[in-house]
Protein backbone atom coordinates (compact mmCIF):
# COMPACT_ATOMS: atom_id res chain seq x y z
CA UNK A 1 0.00 0.00 0.00
CA UNK A 2 1.05 3.60 -0.54
CA UNK A 3 2.13 5.11 2.73
CA UNK A 4 0.57 8.28 4.16
CA UNK A 5 -3.00 7.24 3.61
CA UNK A 6 -5.52 8.27 6.23
CA UNK A 7 -6.88 4.75 6.39
CA UNK A 8 -4.35 2.43 4.76
CA UNK A 9 -6.35 -0.78 5.13
CA UNK A 10 -10.05 -0.19 4.88
CA UNK A 11 -12.50 -3.05 5.19
CA UNK A 12 -14.05 -3.75 1.80
CA UNK A 13 -17.58 -5.12 1.69
CA UNK A 14 -19.43 -6.89 -1.05
CA UNK A 15 -21.61 -4.78 -3.31
CA UNK A 16 -25.32 -5.25 -2.97
CA UNK A 17 -27.02 -6.92 -5.85
CA UNK A 18 -28.56 -4.42 -8.24
CA UNK A 19 -32.28 -4.68 -8.27
CA UNK A 20 -34.04 -3.84 -11.45
CA UNK A 21 -37.33 -2.09 -11.27
CA UNK A 22 -40.30 -4.22 -12.12
CA UNK A 23 -42.09 -2.79 -15.08
CA UNK A 24 -45.40 -4.52 -15.73
CA UNK A 25 -46.95 -3.94 -19.11
CA UNK A 26 -49.87 -1.88 -17.95
CA UNK A 27 -47.81 0.98 -16.48
CA UNK A 28 -48.96 4.43 -17.48
CA UNK A 29 -45.84 5.82 -19.09
CA UNK A 30 -47.07 9.38 -18.61
CA UNK A 31 -47.57 9.00 -14.88
CA UNK A 32 -45.14 10.94 -12.73
CA UNK A 33 -42.57 8.52 -11.42
CA UNK A 34 -41.65 9.14 -7.83
CA UNK A 35 -37.98 9.44 -6.95
CA UNK A 36 -37.27 6.85 -4.27
CA UNK A 37 -34.49 5.73 -1.95
CA UNK A 38 -33.09 3.19 -4.39
CA UNK A 39 -32.91 5.70 -7.23
CA UNK A 40 -30.94 8.11 -5.07
CA UNK A 41 -28.70 5.30 -3.84
CA UNK A 42 -28.05 4.28 -7.45
CA UNK A 43 -26.81 7.79 -8.18
CA UNK A 44 -24.22 7.72 -5.42
CA UNK A 45 -23.25 4.08 -4.73
CA UNK A 46 -20.50 3.99 -7.38
CA UNK A 47 -18.75 7.19 -6.32
CA UNK A 48 -15.10 6.28 -5.81
CA UNK A 49 -13.49 6.88 -2.45
CA UNK A 50 -10.95 9.76 -2.73
CA UNK A 51 -8.06 7.59 -1.55
CA UNK A 52 -9.00 4.01 -2.41
CA UNK A 53 -9.93 2.22 -5.61
CA UNK A 54 -13.23 1.19 -4.04
CA UNK A 55 -16.68 2.64 -4.24
CA UNK A 56 -18.41 4.33 -1.31
CA UNK A 57 -20.77 1.36 -1.29
CA UNK A 58 -17.92 -1.16 -1.04
CA UNK A 59 -16.47 0.72 1.91
CA UNK A 60 -19.92 1.06 3.50
CA UNK A 61 -19.44 4.80 3.62
CA UNK A 62 -22.99 4.87 2.31
CA UNK A 63 -25.76 2.30 2.36
CA UNK A 64 -29.24 2.35 0.95
CA UNK A 65 -30.59 3.01 4.43
CA UNK A 66 -28.41 6.12 4.65
CA UNK A 67 -30.64 7.77 2.08
CA UNK A 68 -33.83 9.44 3.29
CA UNK A 69 -36.05 10.86 0.61
CA UNK A 70 -39.40 12.60 0.54
CA UNK A 71 -40.23 13.19 -3.10
CA UNK A 72 -43.40 15.13 -2.32
CA UNK A 73 -41.37 17.64 -0.35
CA UNK A 74 -38.44 17.40 -2.81
CA UNK A 75 -36.13 16.61 0.06
CA UNK A 76 -33.16 14.25 0.40
CA UNK A 77 -30.81 13.63 3.28
CA UNK A 78 -27.75 11.46 2.89
CA UNK A 79 -25.91 10.32 5.99
CA UNK A 80 -22.45 8.94 5.35
CA UNK A 81 -20.04 7.08 7.59
CA UNK A 82 -16.33 7.89 7.24
CA UNK A 83 -14.12 4.79 7.49
CA UNK A 84 -12.13 6.30 10.35
CA UNK A 85 -13.22 9.04 12.70
CA UNK A 86 -10.33 11.36 11.92
CA UNK A 87 -10.86 11.04 8.19
CA UNK A 88 -9.65 14.26 6.61
CA UNK A 89 -11.34 13.16 3.40
CA UNK A 90 -14.79 13.52 4.98
CA UNK A 91 -15.44 16.92 3.45
CA UNK A 92 -14.30 15.72 0.02
CA UNK A 93 -16.61 12.71 0.24
CA UNK A 94 -19.45 15.00 1.31
CA UNK A 95 -18.68 17.35 -1.57
CA UNK A 96 -18.74 14.43 -4.04
CA UNK A 97 -22.14 13.33 -2.72
CA UNK A 98 -23.50 16.87 -2.99
CA UNK A 99 -22.17 17.45 -6.50
CA UNK A 100 -23.44 14.10 -7.77
CA UNK A 101 -26.93 14.74 -6.40
CA UNK A 102 -26.87 18.31 -7.71
CA UNK A 103 -26.15 16.94 -11.20
CA UNK A 104 -28.60 14.04 -10.98
CA UNK A 105 -31.71 15.37 -9.25
CA UNK A 106 -34.23 17.94 -10.48
CA UNK A 107 -33.31 21.46 -9.32
CA UNK A 108 -36.38 21.61 -7.04
CA UNK A 109 -34.61 19.22 -4.67
CA UNK A 110 -33.21 20.33 -1.31
CA UNK A 111 -30.27 18.20 -0.27
CA UNK A 112 -28.73 17.84 3.18
CA UNK A 113 -25.50 15.87 3.60
CA UNK A 114 -24.18 14.87 7.00
CA UNK A 115 -21.79 12.44 8.63
CA UNK A 116 -23.43 9.78 10.77
CA UNK A 117 -23.73 10.96 14.36
CA UNK A 118 -20.71 9.89 16.41
CA UNK A 119 -18.59 8.74 13.47
CA UNK A 120 -16.31 11.73 13.03
CA UNK A 121 -14.12 13.69 15.42
CA UNK A 122 -15.21 17.05 14.02
CA UNK A 123 -18.74 16.07 13.06
CA UNK A 124 -20.36 19.47 13.64
CA UNK A 125 -17.68 21.34 11.71
CA UNK A 126 -17.85 18.94 8.75
CA UNK A 127 -21.65 19.12 8.64
CA UNK A 128 -21.67 22.90 8.84
CA UNK A 129 -19.20 23.25 5.99
CA UNK A 130 -20.98 20.74 3.75
CA UNK A 131 -24.28 22.54 4.17
CA UNK A 132 -22.98 26.08 3.67
CA UNK A 133 -23.75 26.54 -0.01
CA UNK A 134 -21.51 29.58 -0.31
CA UNK A 135 -18.49 27.52 0.78
CA UNK A 136 -19.57 24.71 -1.52
CA UNK A 137 -19.88 27.19 -4.41
CA UNK A 138 -16.41 28.57 -3.66
CA UNK A 139 -14.93 25.07 -3.41
CA UNK A 140 -16.39 24.19 -6.79
CA UNK A 141 -14.53 27.11 -8.35
CA UNK A 142 -11.25 25.59 -7.16
CA UNK A 143 -9.85 23.61 -10.13
CA UNK A 144 -7.86 21.18 -7.96
CA UNK A 145 -10.89 20.27 -5.89
CA UNK A 146 -13.09 19.98 -8.96
CA UNK A 147 -10.56 17.58 -10.54
CA UNK A 148 -10.56 15.51 -7.37
CA UNK A 149 -14.36 15.42 -7.25
CA UNK A 150 -14.67 14.60 -10.95
CA UNK A 151 -12.24 11.75 -10.58
CA UNK A 152 -14.31 10.27 -7.76
CA UNK A 153 -17.53 10.76 -9.69
CA UNK A 154 -16.32 9.30 -12.99
CA UNK A 155 -17.24 5.66 -12.19
CA UNK A 156 -20.74 6.72 -11.15
CA UNK A 157 -21.57 7.87 -14.66
CA UNK A 158 -20.75 4.53 -16.28
Amino acid sequence: MVSGLINANPVVYEKKERRTRSSPGDVDEYAVEQIDQLEIFDHIRDIKDPEHPYSLEELKVITEDAVEVDDNRSYVRVTFTPTVEHCSMATVIGLCLRVKLMRSLPPRYKVDIRVAPGTHATEAAVNKQLNDKERVAAALENPNLVDMVDECLAPSYE
Binding site: P107, R108, N131, D132, R135, A138
Partner: protein, 357 residues
Protein backbone atom coordinates in the same frame (compact mmCIF):
# COMPACT_ATOMS: atom_id res chain seq x y z
CA UNK B 1 -49.61 52.64 8.94
CA UNK B 2 -52.06 49.93 9.71
CA UNK B 3 -51.51 46.34 8.75
CA UNK B 4 -54.30 45.05 10.96
CA UNK B 5 -57.39 45.44 8.83
CA UNK B 6 -56.46 43.80 5.58
CA UNK B 7 -54.70 40.81 4.18
CA UNK B 8 -51.63 41.58 2.18
CA UNK B 9 -49.91 39.67 -0.54
CA UNK B 10 -46.82 39.97 -2.69
CA UNK B 11 -47.57 40.16 -6.37
CA UNK B 12 -44.97 39.29 -8.96
CA UNK B 13 -44.53 42.25 -11.29
CA UNK B 14 -41.73 40.92 -13.46
CA UNK B 15 -39.19 38.13 -13.78
CA UNK B 16 -35.77 39.26 -15.00
CA UNK B 17 -33.90 36.60 -16.93
CA UNK B 18 -30.38 36.75 -18.29
CA UNK B 19 -27.98 35.42 -15.67
CA UNK B 20 -26.73 31.93 -16.48
CA UNK B 21 -25.99 30.87 -12.89
CA UNK B 22 -27.38 31.57 -9.44
CA UNK B 23 -27.97 35.21 -8.54
CA UNK B 24 -26.40 36.07 -5.21
CA UNK B 25 -27.09 39.68 -4.47
CA UNK B 26 -28.88 42.87 -5.50
CA UNK B 27 -28.51 46.64 -5.15
CA UNK B 28 -31.07 49.34 -6.00
CA UNK B 29 -29.32 52.42 -7.28
CA UNK B 30 -29.90 55.37 -4.93
CA UNK B 31 -31.53 58.49 -6.34
CA UNK B 32 -33.37 56.43 -8.96
CA UNK B 33 -37.03 55.45 -9.10
CA UNK B 34 -38.03 58.91 -7.96
CA UNK B 35 -38.52 62.37 -9.53
CA UNK B 36 -38.72 60.96 -13.03
CA UNK B 37 -35.41 59.08 -12.78
CA UNK B 38 -36.05 55.49 -13.87
CA UNK B 39 -35.39 52.86 -11.20
CA UNK B 40 -32.10 51.00 -11.64
CA UNK B 41 -31.19 47.66 -10.08
CA UNK B 42 -27.85 45.81 -10.13
CA UNK B 43 -27.65 42.03 -9.74
CA UNK B 44 -24.56 39.84 -9.42
CA UNK B 45 -24.13 36.17 -10.05
CA UNK B 46 -22.18 32.93 -10.07
CA UNK B 47 -21.88 33.52 -13.82
CA UNK B 48 -19.13 36.09 -12.93
CA UNK B 49 -21.14 39.02 -14.27
CA UNK B 50 -23.14 41.94 -12.96
CA UNK B 51 -26.30 43.00 -14.76
CA UNK B 52 -27.81 46.46 -14.67
CA UNK B 53 -31.60 46.57 -15.06
CA UNK B 54 -33.49 49.78 -15.76
CA UNK B 55 -37.21 50.41 -15.55
CA UNK B 56 -38.71 51.90 -18.68
CA UNK B 57 -40.69 55.03 -17.87
CA UNK B 58 -43.02 54.26 -20.75
CA UNK B 59 -43.92 50.64 -19.98
CA UNK B 60 -42.82 50.32 -16.35
CA UNK B 61 -40.98 47.10 -17.15
CA UNK B 62 -37.32 46.42 -16.41
CA UNK B 63 -34.79 45.73 -19.13
CA UNK B 64 -31.14 44.74 -18.98
CA UNK B 65 -29.13 47.86 -19.85
CA UNK B 66 -25.62 46.60 -19.29
CA UNK B 67 -23.66 43.45 -18.51
CA UNK B 68 -20.45 44.02 -16.55
CA UNK B 69 -18.18 41.15 -17.50
CA UNK B 70 -14.58 40.16 -18.18
CA UNK B 71 -13.34 41.75 -14.97
CA UNK B 72 -14.07 39.21 -12.26
CA UNK B 73 -12.95 35.68 -13.08
CA UNK B 74 -14.98 34.00 -10.35
CA UNK B 75 -18.42 34.41 -8.73
CA UNK B 76 -19.48 37.98 -8.02
CA UNK B 77 -20.94 37.61 -4.55
CA UNK B 78 -22.04 41.12 -3.60
CA UNK B 79 -22.62 44.54 -5.11
CA UNK B 80 -23.25 48.00 -3.65
CA UNK B 81 -23.83 51.47 -5.11
CA UNK B 82 -22.12 54.47 -3.57
CA UNK B 83 -24.66 56.84 -1.96
CA UNK B 84 -24.41 59.22 -4.92
CA UNK B 85 -25.06 56.36 -7.32
CA UNK B 86 -21.95 57.24 -9.35
CA UNK B 87 -19.93 54.17 -8.40
CA UNK B 88 -20.79 50.50 -8.10
CA UNK B 89 -18.58 48.25 -5.97
CA UNK B 90 -18.55 44.50 -6.68
CA UNK B 91 -17.00 41.85 -4.41
CA UNK B 92 -15.86 38.59 -5.92
CA UNK B 93 -14.61 35.14 -4.98
CA UNK B 94 -11.56 36.10 -7.10
CA UNK B 95 -10.29 37.98 -3.99
CA UNK B 96 -10.82 41.43 -5.48
CA UNK B 97 -13.37 44.20 -5.17
CA UNK B 98 -13.94 46.15 -8.37
CA UNK B 99 -15.14 49.74 -8.55
CA UNK B 100 -17.19 50.65 -11.61
CA UNK B 101 -18.05 54.11 -12.82
CA UNK B 102 -21.24 54.75 -14.71
CA UNK B 103 -20.53 57.18 -17.53
CA UNK B 104 -23.78 57.69 -19.36
CA UNK B 105 -24.80 54.05 -19.08
CA UNK B 106 -21.34 52.75 -19.97
CA UNK B 107 -19.69 51.01 -17.05
CA UNK B 108 -15.92 51.11 -16.76
CA UNK B 109 -13.88 49.40 -14.06
CA UNK B 110 -11.93 52.32 -12.60
CA UNK B 111 -10.27 50.61 -9.65
CA UNK B 112 -9.54 47.14 -8.28
CA UNK B 113 -9.12 46.67 -4.54
CA UNK B 114 -6.73 43.85 -3.70
CA UNK B 115 -5.68 42.56 -0.32
CA UNK B 116 -8.01 39.82 0.81
CA UNK B 117 -6.34 36.42 0.69
CA UNK B 118 -9.28 34.71 -1.01
CA UNK B 119 -13.04 35.07 -1.52
CA UNK B 120 -14.47 38.53 -0.85
CA UNK B 121 -18.05 38.05 0.26
CA UNK B 122 -19.55 41.45 0.90
CA UNK B 123 -19.01 45.16 0.28
CA UNK B 124 -20.71 48.20 1.84
CA UNK B 125 -20.40 52.01 1.57
CA UNK B 126 -20.90 54.23 4.60
CA UNK B 127 -23.65 56.86 4.57
CA UNK B 128 -21.46 59.67 3.25
CA UNK B 129 -19.63 57.55 0.69
CA UNK B 130 -16.25 58.34 2.23
CA UNK B 131 -15.57 54.78 3.45
CA UNK B 132 -15.94 51.33 2.00
CA UNK B 133 -15.86 48.05 3.93
CA UNK B 134 -15.16 44.55 2.59
CA UNK B 135 -15.00 41.13 4.25
CA UNK B 136 -14.29 37.56 3.27
CA UNK B 137 -13.26 34.03 3.90
CA UNK B 138 -9.91 35.13 5.32
CA UNK B 139 -11.86 36.13 8.49
CA UNK B 140 -10.92 39.78 8.14
CA UNK B 141 -12.85 43.01 7.61
CA UNK B 142 -11.13 45.77 5.65
CA UNK B 143 -11.95 49.46 5.77
CA UNK B 144 -11.00 51.56 2.74
CA UNK B 145 -10.93 55.32 2.52
CA UNK B 146 -12.35 56.76 -0.68
CA UNK B 147 -9.89 59.32 -2.08
CA UNK B 148 -10.22 61.62 -5.12
CA UNK B 149 -9.57 60.22 -8.61
CA UNK B 150 -10.98 56.79 -7.73
CA UNK B 151 -8.15 55.99 -5.34
CA UNK B 152 -8.88 53.70 -2.40
CA UNK B 153 -6.63 53.47 0.60
CA UNK B 154 -6.88 50.64 3.11
CA UNK B 155 -7.04 52.31 6.52
CA UNK B 156 -7.66 49.28 8.69
CA UNK B 157 -7.68 45.48 8.61
CA UNK B 158 -9.91 44.21 11.39
CA UNK B 159 -9.28 40.77 12.84
CA UNK B 160 -11.63 39.32 15.41
CA UNK B 161 -13.94 36.89 13.70
CA UNK B 162 -12.78 33.29 14.03
CA UNK B 163 -14.39 32.12 10.77
CA UNK B 164 -15.27 33.57 7.41
CA UNK B 165 -17.19 36.84 7.44
CA UNK B 166 -20.42 36.70 5.47
CA UNK B 167 -21.51 40.32 5.38
CA UNK B 168 -20.46 43.85 6.28
CA UNK B 169 -22.99 46.63 6.66
CA UNK B 170 -22.52 50.24 7.75
CA UNK B 171 -25.03 51.86 10.08
CA UNK B 172 -27.42 53.99 7.97
CA UNK B 173 -26.38 57.29 9.51
CA UNK B 174 -23.27 56.80 11.65
CA UNK B 175 -19.79 55.53 10.89
CA UNK B 176 -20.26 52.33 12.83
CA UNK B 177 -19.65 49.07 11.00
CA UNK B 178 -21.38 45.73 11.55
CA UNK B 179 -20.15 42.34 10.38
CA UNK B 180 -21.69 38.89 10.66
CA UNK B 181 -20.00 35.55 10.33
CA UNK B 182 -19.87 31.78 10.03
CA UNK B 183 -18.61 31.99 13.63
CA UNK B 184 -22.26 32.71 14.65
CA UNK B 185 -21.53 36.26 15.87
CA UNK B 186 -22.23 39.84 14.88
CA UNK B 187 -19.42 42.30 15.59
CA UNK B 188 -19.72 46.05 15.95
CA UNK B 189 -16.70 48.15 14.91
CA UNK B 190 -16.08 51.83 15.67
CA UNK B 191 -13.30 54.34 15.30
CA UNK B 192 -11.51 55.64 18.37
CA UNK B 193 -11.01 59.36 17.88
CA UNK B 194 -10.45 60.30 14.28
CA UNK B 195 -7.19 58.52 13.60
CA UNK B 196 -8.24 55.39 11.76
CA UNK B 197 -7.99 53.38 14.96
CA UNK B 198 -10.87 51.00 14.37
CA UNK B 199 -11.69 48.31 16.89
CA UNK B 200 -14.42 45.92 17.93
CA UNK B 201 -16.71 47.56 20.48
CA UNK B 202 -19.19 44.73 20.86
CA UNK B 203 -19.70 41.08 19.95
CA UNK B 204 -23.23 39.74 19.84
CA UNK B 205 -22.94 36.02 20.44
CA UNK B 206 -24.86 33.21 22.03
CA UNK B 207 -24.42 34.66 25.51
CA UNK B 208 -26.02 37.91 24.36
CA UNK B 209 -29.07 35.87 23.17
CA UNK B 210 -27.53 35.82 19.71
CA UNK B 211 -27.52 33.26 16.95
CA UNK B 212 -26.43 29.63 17.29
CA UNK B 213 -25.30 29.14 13.68
CA UNK B 214 -23.96 31.18 10.74
CA UNK B 215 -25.30 34.74 10.65
CA UNK B 216 -25.91 35.46 6.96
CA UNK B 217 -27.17 39.03 6.86
CA UNK B 218 -28.37 42.05 8.80
CA UNK B 219 -30.31 45.22 8.10
CA UNK B 220 -31.38 48.39 9.90
CA UNK B 221 -34.72 50.12 10.33
CA UNK B 222 -35.18 53.65 8.99
CA UNK B 223 -34.18 55.46 12.16
CA UNK B 224 -31.16 53.25 12.77
CA UNK B 225 -32.05 52.33 16.35
CA UNK B 226 -32.99 48.76 15.49
CA UNK B 227 -31.25 46.02 13.56
CA UNK B 228 -32.48 42.66 12.29
CA UNK B 229 -30.24 39.66 11.63
CA UNK B 230 -30.94 36.30 9.98
CA UNK B 231 -29.23 32.98 10.38
CA UNK B 232 -28.75 29.35 9.53
CA UNK B 233 -30.27 28.71 12.99
CA UNK B 234 -33.66 29.38 11.30
CA UNK B 235 -34.40 32.50 13.36
CA UNK B 236 -34.35 36.21 12.81
CA UNK B 237 -33.42 38.44 15.71
CA UNK B 238 -34.21 42.06 16.43
CA UNK B 239 -31.62 44.17 18.23
CA UNK B 240 -31.94 47.69 19.62
CA UNK B 241 -29.61 50.46 20.75
CA UNK B 242 -29.97 53.89 22.28
CA UNK B 243 -29.64 56.02 19.17
CA UNK B 244 -29.55 59.29 21.16
CA UNK B 245 -26.44 58.34 23.06
CA UNK B 246 -24.86 56.97 19.87
CA UNK B 247 -25.48 60.26 18.10
CA UNK B 248 -23.99 62.19 20.99
CA UNK B 249 -20.72 60.39 20.33
CA UNK B 250 -20.93 57.26 22.42
CA UNK B 251 -20.18 54.59 19.87
CA UNK B 252 -20.13 52.13 22.73
CA UNK B 253 -23.87 52.42 23.29
CA UNK B 254 -24.57 48.70 23.42
CA UNK B 255 -26.91 46.76 21.19
CA UNK B 256 -29.26 44.49 23.06
CA UNK B 257 -31.44 41.59 22.00
CA UNK B 258 -35.10 42.63 21.78
CA UNK B 259 -36.76 39.54 20.38
CA UNK B 260 -36.34 36.39 18.33
CA UNK B 261 -38.72 35.25 15.62
CA UNK B 262 -38.53 31.46 15.50
CA UNK B 263 -40.81 28.81 14.08
CA UNK B 264 -41.44 30.66 10.83
CA UNK B 265 -38.58 29.30 8.73
CA UNK B 266 -37.51 25.70 8.25
CA UNK B 267 -34.40 26.17 6.10
CA UNK B 268 -31.49 28.62 6.20
CA UNK B 269 -32.44 32.31 6.02
CA UNK B 270 -29.97 33.97 3.66
CA UNK B 271 -31.27 37.49 3.46
CA UNK B 272 -33.19 40.02 5.51
CA UNK B 273 -34.10 43.61 4.70
CA UNK B 274 -36.04 46.19 6.68
CA UNK B 275 -38.06 48.63 4.57
CA UNK B 276 -38.30 52.32 5.44
CA UNK B 277 -41.97 51.71 6.17
CA UNK B 278 -41.08 49.10 8.77
CA UNK B 279 -41.68 45.85 6.88
CA UNK B 280 -39.05 43.16 7.47
CA UNK B 281 -38.58 40.86 4.49
CA UNK B 282 -36.72 37.53 4.52
CA UNK B 283 -35.44 35.31 1.71
CA UNK B 284 -34.68 31.69 2.57
CA UNK B 285 -33.55 28.31 1.29
CA UNK B 286 -37.16 27.10 1.28
CA UNK B 287 -37.79 29.22 -1.86
CA UNK B 288 -40.19 31.47 0.06
CA UNK B 289 -40.32 35.18 0.86
CA UNK B 290 -41.85 36.29 4.15
CA UNK B 291 -42.85 39.72 5.42
CA UNK B 292 -43.04 40.68 9.09
CA UNK B 293 -44.31 43.83 10.80
CA UNK B 294 -44.35 45.03 14.37
CA UNK B 295 -47.44 43.80 16.11
CA UNK B 296 -49.89 46.11 17.89
CA UNK B 297 -49.54 43.77 20.84
CA UNK B 298 -46.01 44.98 21.48
CA UNK B 299 -45.52 45.36 25.16
CA UNK B 300 -43.51 47.63 27.39
CA UNK B 301 -40.63 45.15 27.65
CA UNK B 302 -40.11 45.24 23.92
CA UNK B 303 -41.58 45.02 20.46
CA UNK B 304 -43.24 41.93 19.02
CA UNK B 305 -43.49 41.07 15.36
CA UNK B 306 -46.00 39.11 13.35
CA UNK B 307 -46.01 37.48 9.95
CA UNK B 308 -47.76 39.79 7.48
CA UNK B 309 -47.66 37.40 4.54
CA UNK B 310 -45.68 34.49 3.15
CA UNK B 311 -45.07 33.95 -0.55
CA UNK B 312 -44.51 30.23 -1.04
CA UNK B 313 -42.56 29.21 -4.14
CA UNK B 314 -41.49 32.80 -4.73
CA UNK B 315 -38.70 31.23 -6.78
CA UNK B 316 -38.01 27.74 -8.10
CA UNK B 317 -34.94 27.47 -5.87
CA UNK B 318 -33.32 29.14 -2.80
CA UNK B 319 -33.92 32.87 -2.36
CA UNK B 320 -30.49 34.44 -1.78
CA UNK B 321 -31.36 38.12 -1.55
CA UNK B 322 -34.36 40.33 -0.88
CA UNK B 323 -34.19 44.10 -1.13
CA UNK B 324 -36.76 46.88 -0.85
CA UNK B 325 -36.38 49.85 -3.09
CA UNK B 326 -35.55 52.84 -0.91
CA UNK B 327 -37.50 55.28 -3.06
CA UNK B 328 -41.19 55.94 -3.49
CA UNK B 329 -42.07 53.01 -5.71
CA UNK B 330 -42.24 50.43 -2.85
CA UNK B 331 -40.90 47.65 -5.00
CA UNK B 332 -39.22 44.56 -3.64
CA UNK B 333 -36.54 42.70 -5.60
CA UNK B 334 -35.47 39.12 -4.97
CA UNK B 335 -32.63 36.98 -6.33
CA UNK B 336 -32.40 33.22 -6.50
CA UNK B 337 -30.40 30.08 -7.25
CA UNK B 338 -32.84 29.64 -10.14
CA UNK B 339 -30.87 32.35 -11.98
CA UNK B 340 -33.66 34.89 -11.97
CA UNK B 341 -34.38 38.20 -10.32
CA UNK B 342 -37.99 39.04 -9.52
CA UNK B 343 -39.72 42.34 -8.91
CA UNK B 344 -42.65 42.31 -6.49
CA UNK B 345 -45.21 44.76 -5.22
CA UNK B 346 -47.13 44.54 -1.98
CA UNK B 347 -50.87 44.91 -2.22
CA UNK B 348 -53.97 44.03 -0.26
CA UNK B 349 -55.32 40.70 -1.35
CA UNK B 350 -58.90 41.90 -1.28
CA UNK B 351 -58.81 45.15 -3.20
CA UNK B 352 -56.04 44.37 -5.72
CA UNK B 353 -54.97 47.89 -4.87
CA UNK B 354 -51.33 48.79 -4.48
CA UNK B 355 -50.59 49.41 -0.84
CA UNK B 356 -50.42 53.07 0.04
CA UNK B 357 -48.13 53.47 3.00
Amino acid sequence: MNFADENFELREVQKLEGHTDRVWSLAWKPTTGVDGAPAVLASCSGDKTVRIWEQSSATGSFQCKAVLEDTHNRTVRSCAWSPSGKLLATASFDATTAIWEDVGGDFTCVSTLEGHENEVKSVSWNASGSLLATCGRDKSVWIWEVLPHNEFDCVSVLQGHTQDVKMVQWHPSMDILFSCSYDNTIKVWAEDGGNDDWHCVQTLNESSSGHTSTVWALSFNASGDKMVSCSDDLTIKIWGADIMSMQSGDENAPWTHLCTLSGYHDRTIFSVHWSREGIICTGAADDAIRLFVESEESVADGPMYKLLTKKEKAHDMDVNAVLWSSTGNKLLASASDDGTVKIWELGSSSGQKKLQL
